[in-house]
């Protein structure tokens, strides 16, 4: 009996379900219209985002093309050679190290020296098998730096050692003067700007520790804590300038 009625039941069920759905559409018409409007707005928003992303991708591609043409000094394009620190300056007034790589290894004066953490300094003298490196903490180790603001625009400045030490175990910090109007904030990353022809672009240097207004009122001084722990440094990489 059940087997005989089964097709009929199925047919009725499908018809009633259809009618129920139609009634549901009719009763929820207002709600459906609202959802439709929301979805349309969402589509518009996603379309706008999609266009923006496409523009950014295109800008990135254009940048890469320009970089190839202008040979932008990016660290990632360059050859490096590992070196061990064999000596440090005996005095308290200079921040230099001696490494066990020299002209025999292709090291030349003004080669940039880095670690995985960030910028260390530059080569100032070379022998066959050693090289002297002036650290960015030295007064002669000035670097052209850049802070990338939240809107993407860069703030440029020259980083100089201030020879200011904190308590036991701490190391000297760097200072950078920036215009008062620029919105440099504590915690922001400072990178090399690539300007000056010695240091390649975008090597991390340190983070902004604090920003104070100078006495004149036109500039602010940003104190920067280097990322590299110079007192604990054992190995470094020398970036070959021949790769630039």
């Amino acid at each position: 009996m059940q087997q005989i009625l089964a097709p009929l039941q199925s047919g009725v069920m499908s018809v009633t379900t259809g009618i129920q759905d139609d009634f549901a559409v009719l009763t929820n018409l207002g709600k459906t219209k609202q959802e439709n409007n929301q979805l349309k707005a969402k589509v518009a928003e996603l379309t706008r985002e999609n266009i923006e992303l496409q523009q950014k991708v295109l800008a990135g591609l254009r940048y890469q093309e320009l970089e190839k043409k202008f040979n932008a000094p990016e660290i990632w394009n360059m050859q490096t050679v590992g070196a061990t620190i064999v000596d440090r300056d005996p005095s308290n007034w200079y921040y230099t190290i001696t490494i066990n790589r020299g002209s025999a290894d292709g090291v030349v004066v003004n080669d940039c020296v880095i670690t995985n953490a960030g910028l260390v300094g530059k080569v100032i003298a070379v022998t066959n098998h050693t090289a002297d490196v002036v650290l960015i903490l030295d007064s002669e180790g000035e670097v052209s730096g850049m802070v990338r603001q939240s809107d993407g625009s860069p703030v440029y400045g020259v980083l100089q050692s201030n020879y200011r030490h904190g308590p036991i175990g701490s190391q000297a910090t760097l200072e950078m003067s920036v215009p008062k109007a620029d919105n440099v904030k504590p915690g922001e990353l400072v990178l090399t700007s690539g300007k000056g022809g010695v240091f390649p672009k975008d090597i991390p240097i340190g983070t902004v520790q604090n920003v104070v207004l100078q006495k004149g009122g036109l500039l602010k001084t940003a104190t920067i804590t280097p990322l590299v722990k110079f007192d604990r440094l054992e190995e470094v990489f020398v970036v070959h300038s021949g790769g630039r």
Partner: protein
């Protein structure tokens, strides 16, 4: 023998400053062991010998460092002369006087260095440099109780004692 001993102490001081004391920095500074050697020698041998030793060891240190030649030579010459002057007017056996002379001569040596550095166009800021100089002088003074008695004993009775040629 005496000057060989000074040479050994000098090399030892320079090596320790370049290596071990980088890990024993206090407030970002390490002691100046070569300066201590010059001060001790001057305080026990007078201003002329002290100044000459300071000049000689300073020149060697300038060669070792390799730039701003003459800066250490001048600083050690002046501090050697000042520490040596105290030899003529004060008791060199007294550890407290040795502490005072070490502090003063260290401060003078660092002052000369700062003056030379700023004159040479190095970007040293005066207040921070003074702070560093003061810390170096204090660190040097802290080492005096552990080093000066041995040096004084060696230079008056021991292996650093001056021996006329007929005694050798």
């Amino acid at each position: 023998m005496r000057y060989l001993g000074i040479a050994v102490l000098y090399v030892l001081g320079l090596v320790l400053q370049s290596t071990l004391f980088n890990f024993l920095k206090v407030g970002g500074v390490k002691p100046d062991l070569v300066l201590l050697l010059v001060i001790y020698f001057a305080f026990t041998n007078g201003p002329v010998k002290g100044a000459l030793l300071g000049l000689g060891l300073g020149l060697l240190e300038d060669f070792f460092i390799g730039y701003y030649f003459g800066m250490n030579a001048l600083a050690l010459l002046v501090s050697g002369f000042v520490a040596g002057w105290f030899e003529t007017v004060m008791y060199k056996e007294n550890i407290f006087i040795a502490l005072f002379v070490t502090f003063l001569a260290s401060l003078i040596a660092q002052t000369v260095t700062i003056f030379c550095g700023i004159t040479a166009g190095l970007g040293w800021q005066l207040p921070d440099s003074w702070n560093t100089a003061l810390k170096i002088a204090i660190y040097n003074v802290c080492l005096v109780p552990f080093t000066y008695p041995f040096f004084h004993k060696a230079i008056t009775k021991g292996w650093l004692r001056y021996r006329p040629r007929h005694e050798e």
